[in-house]
C-alpha cells in the first residue's frame, strides 16, 4: 500500500496555483486596487503622507480583524466591537482627562476592562449556548448605551500629549547620525529596519525550504517562492522608503505589525489556534476529542474585547476626544475584512493574513474613493459589492473544486 504515498515533493505549478488561488488572488486583488487608485487619484495614493494616513486610518480595523477572525473561525460573530470601542475609549478619557491618571496605568486598566466586557459576552455564548449573533447584538446596544451614560452625552477631550502620541506619534530616527541623505530621507532608521526585515524574510524563507526538502515536506514551486519574495520585497521597500521620506514608522504600525506576527503564530503554530480551527470545523468532534470548547469560546471573546479596547484607545487618541458616537459601524468593516479575506461564515476556515489583506483592501478603497471625492453613498455601495464578489469567488471556487 506504500505505493500510494505522495511520491513527489514537486507539485506542478498549475496544481499549486489552483490550490492556492485564494491567497494569491487576494494579494493580486489588493495590488490591482492599489494601482487602480494610484492612477485614478493621479499619484496621491502612494504619496508618503497618504500612506502614513492609510496606516493610521486602518490600524484599528486591522487590530480588531485579528480578534474577529478567531471568533469567526470558532464559528461565531461579534457585532459589539464598535460599541466596545466607544465604551473603552470613553472610560480611558474619563480616567485620563477627568481623573488625571497617567496613561501607563490607564492603558493596562482599559485593556483589562475590555477583557471583562468580552468575558461578559463570552459567558452567555460559551456557557449558556445563546447564539453569538444575539448576545453581541444585545452587547452592541448595551455598551453603546453605557457609553452615553458614562460620557453623559458629551465628548471628552483633549487628551494629554503623551497619550496622544502613542497613537499619532512616530518611531524616532535612532540612526539619524548615519543618515546618508538627510534632505530626502527624514527617518533613516525605518528604512534600515525595512531592509533588515526583507533580508531576514528571504533568509528564513530559503532556510525553511532547505529544511522542508530534507524532511520530505512539500514546498511551493521555486518560481512562486522567488516571485512572491520579489513582489513582497519590492512593495515593502517601496512603502518603507515612502514612509522614511515623511516621518518614518507610525507607532501604531509597530503595534499592528507585532500583533499580526503574534496572531499569525498563534493560528499557525499554537495548540490554542489549532483547537479553535478544529472547534469551528466540528464542535462536537472537538469536544469529544477532549477539547474544552466552552472555555475556548469564552477566551476568544475575551481576546476580542481586549483588542477592541486597544482599538478604542487608538481611535480616541487619534481623534483627540472620546465621543459617544465613536466606532459606529466599525463591526461591519471588521467583519467584512475577515470575509473578504476568505474566512468561512460557517467556521473552521480563515487566515490572519487574509483578514489583514481584507482590511487593507477595504482601507485602500475607502481612502482612494475619498481622495477622488466619491460620496459616502457610492463608497458604501462599492464596498458592499466588493464584499459580495469576494465571497462569491470563494463559493464558486469551492463548488468547482
Amino acid at each position: 500500500m506504500a505505493g500510494q504515498t505522495s511520491a513527489s515533493n514537486q507539485t506542478s505549478i498549475g496544481a499549486y496555483l489552483k490550490n492556492n488561488i485564494r491567497e494569491y488572488g487576494l494579494l493580486v486583488a489588493l495590488v490591482v486596487i492599489m494601482v487602480f487608485f494610484q492612477i485614478i487619484t493621479q499619484g496621491v495614493l502612494f504619496r508618503p503622507v497618504n500612506i502614513t494616513n492609510l496606516i493610521l486610518q486602518n490600524s484599528f480595523i486591522v487590530i480588531m480583524a485579528l480578534g474577529m477572525l478567531l471568533i469567526i473561525v470558532a464559528g461565531h460573530i461579534d457585532l459589539s466591537v464598535g460599541s466596545i470601542v466607544a465604551f473603552t475609549g470613553g472610560l480611558s478619557a474619563i480616567m485620563l482627562v477627568k481623573w488625571g491618571i497617567h496613561y501607563s496605568i490607564v492603558v493596562p486598566i482599559c485593556l483589562v476592562l475590555g477583557g471583562i466586557v468580552g468575558a461578559a459576552q463570552g459567558y452567555w455564548v460559551a456557557y449558556q449556548k445563546i447564539p453569538s449573533f444575539i448576545v453581541t447584538l444585545a452587547g452592541m446596544l448595551v455598551f453603546r448605551g453605557l457609553t452615553y451614560l458614562v460620557l453623559q452625552n458629551r465628548p471628552i477631550g483633549p487628551f494629554p500629549k503623551d497619550f496622544q502620541s502613542l497613537s499619532t506619534g512616530f518611531v524616532p530616527d535612532l540612526l539619524y547620525f548615519v543618515n546618508p541623505a538627510p534632505e530626502t530621507i527624514a527617518n533613516f532608521f525605518s528604512l534600515v529596519v525595512v531592509l533588515v526585515l526583507v533580508a531576514l524574510a528571504v533568509y528564513f524563507g530559503l532556510k525553511n525550504r532547505a529544511i522542508n526538502e530534507k524532511h520530505g515536506t512539500e514546498n511551493e514551486p521555486f518560481v512562486f517562492f522567488v516571485l512572491q519574495m520579489a513582489v513582497t520585497a519590492i512593495v515593502a521597500i517601496f512603502l518603507g522608503y515612502q514612509l522614511a521620506t515623511y516621518k518614518g514608522f507610525p507607532n501604531v504600525l509597530v503595534v499592528m505589525a507585532l500583533l499580526i506576527a503574534l496572531y499569525t503564530f498563534l493560528t499557525n503554530r499554537s495548540t490554542i489556534g489549532r483547537r479553535i480551527y478544529a472547534m469551528g470545523g466540528n464542535e462536537k468532534a472537538a469536544k469529544l476529542s477532549g477539547i474544552n470548547t466552552e472555555r475556548l469560546t469564552f477566551y476568544t471573546f475575551v481576546n476580542m474585547g481586549v483588542l477592541a479596547s486597544l482599538a478604542g484607545m487608538i481611535i480616541a487618541a487619534r481623534l483627540n476626544s472620546a465621543t459617544p458616537k465613536a466606532g459606529v459601524g466599525f463591526e461591519l468593516d471588521v467583519i467584512a475584512a475577515c470575509f473578504i479575506g476568505g474566512a468561512s461564515a460557517s467556521g473552521g476556515v480563515g487566515k490572519i493574513t487574509g483578514a489583514v489583506i481584507g482590511a487593507f483592501i477595504m482601507g485602500v478603497m475607502n481612502n482612494g474613493m475619498s481622495i477622488v471625492g466619491l460620496g459616502i453613498d457610492y463608497q458604501q455601495l462599492v464596498k458592499g459589492l466588493v464584499l459580495l464578489a469576494a465571497v462569491f469567488f470563494d463559493v464558486y471556487n469551492k463548488n468547482k473544486g
Partner: protein, 514 residues
C-alpha cells in the same frame, strides 16, 4: 395468487463508484407490478445506494447502467423526477419537520393552494382521508413531535399516498418500531398489495421479510447474488443468510489467540437519566468489566442503551444525573469530563464518525493529533516536524489510503476515515478503547483490516469494548459478549455460549420481564 406478470421496474447493470469504493457493481433487479419485493444484504452491501440511484438522489450520469420503469428507460436527475412517476422512497431517518403538523408535513412542497394561499379546509379533509387509509387515528393538526416513531412512519406513508405513489420504497421501515407497530405496518403493506401497489422493502428483519415478501433479491458487497421467489419454494431464514453472507465466518474475521490479563475497566451500578427527558431513567444498574487483552462485545437492538452507556462513561458526554463507579486496574477514576476520561486511559471511537469523530474540513494530520496535541507540542507551540512524523507513522501503520497526510478527511472513503479516527485515539495511548459500530458503512475489505487492528491492539494488552449491531461481527471478534436491552445488561455470554439465538433469546426474555 394474483397474477403479477408485468415488470414495473428493471434495473440493469447498475454500477456506482465513490472515491475509493465501488459501492455497486453490475447490480440487476426486476420488480413485478403489485408485489412486495424485499431487498436484503448486510450493512454496506449497497441496498441504500441502489435505492438512491433509483430515486434520483444520485442523478443519471453519475452511475452506469439502465433504469427501466414502466417500459421505458428513465434518466432521473432529481428526486422530483422519480416522484413525478410515482416512485416514492421513505428513508430510514424520516424526513418530517417535527414542529409542523401532520397535515402540513403531508403536503409539504405540494400544498393545496391557489395563488400561494393554502386551502386549509381542503388540506385537512384530504389529510383525514389519507390518515384513514393508513389507519392512523390522529387529528391532522397534531404536531409530528407529539406522536411516536411508529405513527410518524405512517405519516410518511400517507405523504407518499398523497403523491399518487405506484412504487413505494421503504428503507428499514421497522428498525425503530416495536412489535405491534411493526405488525401494523406490515399489514398495511399487504393491504396496499391487494390494491395493486408495488413496494420494495429493505430490511434486516428476516422473519418480517418471510412474512410479506413475494420475491427477495440479495445483495452482497455491491453486487446481486440472487433473487429468490417465495411462491415457488419455502425460503428459510438460513437460506437467506447463506446468500447474504456467502462464505464461511472464518474468512471474514482474522483469527486470534486471546491472552486475557488483569481487569482494566470496571463499571459498577451505572445509572443514567435521559439527556433530554430528564425525569426518565435510561440506564439501570449497568455493570461490566473489560480485561487486558480482551475483546468484549455489547449486543442489543437499536435504542438498547449501548452508545449511551459508552458516552456517559466517556466524560459524561451523554445523559445527566449519572451515578455509579468506574475503576481502572481496581482503582476508582474520575471520568466526569472528557479530558479526565482520556487521562484515565479511556478512548471512545464514535459510531458517527462524520459528525462526532472527524473535523472533516481538516486534514489527516490535524485530525490524528487532535485528542493529544500535548504529545506534539511544547508549552503550547506545535512542533510541526514531530506532528508530521506522528501522522505519517499512523498513516502507514493503519494503512490509510490517501495521497498524503495533508488530504482533507472529507475526501476519504468510510474505511479510511475510520482509520483516521482510530489513529487519533491510538495516539492518546489508551488502555481501554470503546469502539462504537467500528465497521458501520465501510466495505468488506476495510472491515477485515479494522478487525485485524482490533486483534493487534488486544495482543498488545489493551482492553477493547466493542458495540455493534451486526451480531456476526460480535460473534466473530469477541471473547465475551454482554447483551443489553432497554437500558439494562440482560446477559453475559462467553464465546462458547454466544450465538445469534442465545443473544436474541436474552433480548426477548428480558423484554417480557419488563
Amino acid at each position: 395468487m394474483r397474477k403479477m406478470d408485468k415488470i414495473i421496474l428493471e434495473m440493469r447493470g447498475i454500477t456506482k463508484t465513490f472515491p475509493g469504493v465501488k459501492a455497486l457493481n453490475n447490480v440487476n433487479i426486476k420488480v413485478r407490478e403489485g408485489e412486495i419485493h424485499a431487498l436484503v444484504g448486510e450493512n454496506g452491501a449497497g441496498k441504500s445506494t441502489l435505492m438512491k440511484v433509483l430515486s434520483g438522489v444520485y442523478p443519471a450520469g453519475t452511475y452506469e447502467g439502465d433504469i427501466v420503469y414502466d417500459g421505458e428507460v428513465r434518466r432521473f436527475s432529481t428526486i422530483a423526477d422519480s416522484e413525478h412517476l410515482g416512485i416514492i422512497i421513505i428513508h430510514q431517518e424520516l424526513a418530517l419537520v417535527p414542529l409542523l403538523s401532520i397535515a402540513e408535513n403531508i403536503f409539504l412542497g405540494n400544498e393545496i393552494a391557489s395563488g400561494g394561499v393554502i386551502d386549509w379546509r381542503e388540506t385537512f379533509s384530504r389529510t383525514r382521508e389519507l390518515l384513514a387509509k393508513v389507519g392512523l387515528k390522529e387529528a391532522p393538526a397534531t404536531l409530528i413531535t407529539d406522536i411516536g416513531v411508529g405513527k410518524q412512519q405512517l405519516v410518511e406513508i400517507a405523504k407518499a399516498l398523497s403523491k399518487k405513489v405506484r412504487l413505494l420504497i421503504l428503507d428499514e421501515p421497522t428498525a425503530s418500531l416495536n412489535e405491534t407497530d411493526s405488525d401494523a405496518l406490515l399489514r398495511l403493506l399487504m393491504e396496499f398489495r391487494a390494491q395493486g401497489m408495488t413496494s420494495i422493502i429493505i430490511s434486516h428483519k428476516l422473519n418480517e421479510i418471510k412474512k410479506v415478501a413475494d420475491n427477495i433479491t440479495i445483495l452482497r458487497d455491491g453486487g446481486t447474488v440472487e433473487t429468490l421467489d417465495c411462491h415457488k419454494e419455502d425460503i428459510s431464514e438460513d437460506r437467506i443468510i447463506k446468500g447474504m453472507v456467502g462464505r464461511d465466518m472464518e474468512d471474514r474475521y482474522p483469527s486470534r489467540e486471546p491472552k486475557v490479563g488483569e481487569t482494566l475497566l470496571e463499571v459498577k451500578n451505572w445509572n443514567v437519566f435521559h439527556q433530554h427527558h430528564r425525569d426518565r431513567q435510561f440506564l439501570h444498574d449497568v455493570n461490566f468489566t473489560v480485561r487486558a487483552g480482551e475483546v468484549v462485545g455489547i449486543a442489543g437492538l437499536m435504542g438498547a442503551g449501548r452508545t449511551e452507556t459508552a458516552m456517559s462513561i466517556f466524560g459524561r458526554s451523554w445523559g445527566h444525573k449519572i451515578t455509579g463507579e468506574v475503576t481502572m486496574r481496581g482503582k476508582p477514576v474520575d471520568v466526569s469530563t472528557i479530558p479526565k476520561a482520556i487521562d484515565a486511559g479511556l478512548a471512545y471511537v464514535t459510531e458517527d464518525r462524520k459528525h462526532l469523530g472527524l473535523v472533516l474540513i481538516n486534514n489527516i494530520k490535524e485530525n490524528t493529533t487532535l485528542a493529544n496535541l500535548e504529545g506534539v507540542s511544547r508549552s503550547g507551540v506545535i512542533d510541526d516536524r514531530k506532528e508530521t512524523k506522528v501522522a505519517t507513522d499512523y498513516r502507514s501503520l493503519l494503512r490509510i489510503r490517501s495521497h498524503s497526510i495533508y488530504q482533507e478527511t472529507v475526501n476519504l472513503s468510510g474505511g479510511n476515515q475510520q482509520k483516521v479516527v482510530l489513529s487519533k485515539w491510538l495516539f492518546t495511548n489508551p488502555e481501554v478503547l470503546i469502539l462504537d459500530e467500528p465497521t458501520r458503512g465501510i466495505d468488506v475489505g476495510a472491515k477485515f483490516e479494522i478487525y485485524s487492528i482490533i486483534n493487534q491492539l488486544a495482543a498488545e494488552g489493551k482492553g477493547i469494548l466493542m458495540i455493534s449491531s451486526e451480531m456476526p461481527e460480535l460473534l466473530g471478534t469477541c471473547d465475551r459478549i454482554y447483551v443489553m436491552n432497554e437500558g439494562r445488561i440482560v446477559a453475559e455470554l462467553s464465546k462458547a455460549e454466544a450465538s445469534q439465538e442465545t443473544i436474541m433469546r436474552a433480548i426477548m426474555r428480558s423484554g417480557e420481564k419488563h
